[in-house]
């Protein structure tokens, strides 16, 4: 009883205190809300900025690169003049002949073919469109890219029966014509600074008006290897093949080795100082600048193992070393995320350690492993620095048939084209090569996403 009377003033006091508390909470609430709001705004702003940059990147590259897939072509009636193409009949292998003998004969015939002046045939074809061209062969030959004469030669080699006929052929225009026609060069520049003569400029404009020179889709970017003599036909085929071979090497070396080591380290290795040391070093390796791997490759694979310079095999091995830590780390974190209860369940049923891993843990880890592996491969695909150090930045004008042949790679090709002196033409070509590389990477990532979804939806 007594306490109650004493408590009464206390209670009003308490109510006051509560009121005060409430006010404070309301006040702080306002601050907290605005803080939250600010934080969200910053997050949204960051995302928007990032997206804007990505969009800007894509817009620039696509707007520059996509036009390079369309090139100036010149359509001419080419007469394979039998007066100019004077060669023996194409040798056919006789039964009495050995293969070597036949090859020798065939080679001799090809040499004969090589001496034929196909430039003259092209010039005659141009002269049909522009009669005065016959008097200015030097100016006229600036219209068609120099590689086309070899194309004509190959046509005759493959089918000598076209000699004497007239074929309507669409040929690649010279790179400078392409630049001129597309308006990628300042037409007001004085003649001394122009790549093509005034006469050629006039002819080009005239042929465009007559529809002889047309801007049409060109496969040369995909089908041809790099070229320095015939710039208009310089393509990515060699670099693409080189990159493909290296990716295959990385896929078949880095993924199995990386996954196996990750499984061993995560599931079987005892936890001790040694495995700790290994783990720390793997994490460090993932952070080593890729150019260091290039140095390693140059000194180990080329100087020590005597593997050829500029070969995809060496590139593949170097990129494998570079990708291994990524694959190991991704696989280990995936394995760590598999609930231990699955392992206990299998072990409790009497499965051996290996069985519990192979039957239960690994199938669950596959989506994560695949994602890690493909991201690692995509990273290797875009890498140029280590390849420069093993000689893959050299100019290679052929498509490699084996990983031991000289080759270059897509990112290195981009680097080479970017530095080409005919900027007006190669700026677009470089962007086109970047488009191809990006398309390859996006499809690799899409495959990764698809694989992950595919294996995930199984359970």
């Amino acid at each position: 009883m007594n306490t109650e009377t004493v408590n009464l003033p206390d209670q009003t006091d308490l109510a006051k205190k509560r009121d005060l508390m409430q006010q404070r909470v309301t006040k702080s609430l306002k601050r907290r809300h605005s803080q939250e709001q600010r934080f969200r705004m910053m997050g949204v702003a960051a995302v928007v900025a990032a997206l804007a940059f990505v969009a800007l990147l894509f817009i620039t590259i696509l707007s520059k690169g996509v036009p390079a897939f369309w090139q100036a072509h010149i359509t001419l009636d080419v007469h394979f003049d039998e007066q100019l193409i004077k060669i023996d009949e194409k040798p056919v292998r006789m039964e009495s002949e050995s293969e070597a003998e036949f090859n020798q004969r065939f080679l001799a015939w090809q040499t004969q073919l090589g001496f034929i002046n196909f430039n003259r045939i092209i010039l005659n074809a141009i002269a049909k469109e522009i009669p005065e061209a016959a008097d200015h062969p030097r100016d006229a030959m600036q219209l068609v890219t120099s590689g086309e004469r070899f194309a004509l030669r190959d046509m005759v080699r493959d089918d000598p029966s076209i000699i004497g006929t007239t074929q309507r052929l669409t040929m690649l225009a010279d790179a400078n014509i392409d630049v001129w026609v597309k308006g990628n060069v300042d037409r007001d520049l004085p003649t001394s600074q122009q790549q093509i003569s005034t006469l050629t400029q006039e002819w080009a404009d005239e042929l465009v008006d007559r529809g002889v020179i047309e801007n049409s889709f060109s496969t040369s970017l995909f089908m041809n290897p790099d070229s320095r003599s015939s710039l208009a036909s310089a393509g990515l085929a060699g670099a693409f093949m080189g990159s493909l071979m290296m990716m295959l090497i990385v896929m078949f070396l880095a993924v199995p080795i990386g996954v196996a080591s990750a499984i061993y380290l995560e599931e079987f290795a005892p936890q001790n100082k040694l495995t700790d040391l290994i783990e720390v070093n793997i994490n460090n390796l993932a952070a080593v600048p890729s150019i260091v791997f290039g140095l390693l490759g140059a000194s180990v694979f080329i100087l020590w193992f005597k593997l050829p310079l500029s070969a995809p095999i060496v590139g593949g091995l170097v990129l494998t070393l570079m990708t291994l830590p990524t694959v190991i780390i991704a696989t280990r974190s995936t394995l760590k995320a598999i609930p231990p209860s699955i392992r206990s369940a299998a072990l409790g049923l009497g499965a051996s350690k290996v069985q519990s891993v192979l039957h239960h843990v690994l199938p669950l880890a596959i989506p994560g492993i695949l994602t890690g592996a493909i991201l690692g491969i995509a990273q290797a695909l875009g890498e140029a620095a280590p390849l420069l150090l093993i000689g893959m930045s050299s100019f290679v004008a052929s498509v490699p048939a084996t990983p031991f042949e000289q080759s270059t790679a897509l990112p290195v090709q981009i680097f080479l084209w970017q530095g080409n002196e005919l900027r007006n033409f190669f700026e677009a070509r470089t962007s086109a090569a970047i488009v191809v590389l990006l398309a390859l990477m996006i499809s690799l990532n899409a495959v990764a996403i698809w694989l992950r979804k595919h294996f995930e939806t199984r359970w």
Binding site: P270, Q271, P339, S341, I342, R343, S344, A345, A346, L347, G348, L349, G350, A351, S352, Q355, H359, H360, L364, W459
Partner: protein, 276 residues
């Protein structure tokens, strides 16, 4: 709180009196079993016998070592790097730490059900079929395997609920069903002993009572050891109860005795709810 609980236990003892026909064959026995985690001794020399067709419940406060001790019986402690087990554990008179005895074989004989239902993320059928296939209990014969799957699920009281969807993922079942699936999976390899580590702790009361009934049925064919935090459960399902405290087996006796007439004051304190 205490009074009605004890009353309920009393009743269940009376029910059980009729059923409990304890055989006296020792199935497994532990002699001076100590477990070390690194340098810490978690169990201080435990002696215990598990009798055939009997259910032994391990009770005790958290961290007292009852689960650790349970895991000694099928050497699951081997899977923990830092754990070390000393002492002797016999299965039918044979030392389970014997080099000649393969741990795989031991685990086929001594099955285990875990605290959290842990079905494989595979179909219900595959969950059950995995063990028999692993141990080659069937000669690649589909109908034999089907039969094992069916009987195991029937014994676990799950057959009626899942027979139409054996291809459905085991992880899609409810918690109680998952735990029964795990029990079915354990009995599919026809073990002799089943270890249960708090099998009902993640389940609701109805699922719990179904599992408890199941345990009662299963003890006709198996030796069962069960760790539980639920003293009523221990009272309901077990024939013998062991009370663990701080790594010691304080007392083990007929369940009825433990709950009505504990010898040790610590046991009494625990079961009357004074600590733990």
């Amino acid at each position: 709180m205490e009074q009605p609980t004890m009353g309920a236990m009393q009743m269940s003892f009376d029910d059980k009196q009729k059923v409990s026909a304890t055989s006296s064959t020792i199935k497994m026995s532990a002699r001076d079993v100590k477990v070390f985690y690194g340098d810490t001794e978690a169990l201080h020399g435990i002696n215990m016998d598990l009798y055939e067709n009997e259910v032994v419940a391990f009770i005790g406060p958290s961290g007292c070592g009852k689960s650790t001790f349970l895991r000694c019986f099928n050497r699951m402690n081997d899977t923990i790097d830092s754990a070390r087990v000393t002492g002797e554990i016999l299965l039918d008179g044979r030392d389970i730490h014997d080099k000649k005895l393969d741990v795989v074989q031991l685990r086929a004989q001594v099955g285990m059900v875990f605290q959290k239902p842990n079905p494989f993320p595979k179909s219900i059928y595959e969950n059950i079929a995995y063990g028999p296939r692993l141990h080659g209990l069937v000669d690649n014969n589909k109908s034999d395997l089907d039969e094992i799957v069916e009987t195991s699920l029937q014994r676990a009281g799950l057959w009626k609920e899942v027979k139409d969807r054996l291809d459905a993922p085991g992880t899609g079942l409810s918690g109680g069903q998952q735990q029964r699936l795990c029990i079915a999976r354990a009995i599919a390899v026809s073990p002799e002993v089943i270890l249960m580590d708090e099998p009902c702790s993640a389940l609701d009361p109805i699922a719990t009572s179904i599992i408890e009934e199941l345990i009662d049925e299963l003890k006709g064919s198996y030796t069962i050891a069960i760790v539980t935090h639920n003293m009523q459960q221990a009272a309901r399902v077990s024939d013998k109860t062991g009370f663990f405290h701080l790594g010691d087996l304080v007392e083990i006796n007929e369940t009825r005795e433990i709950f009505t007439n504990p010898k040790d004051s610590r046991t009494e304190d625990y079961i009357t709810g004074r600590f733990g």
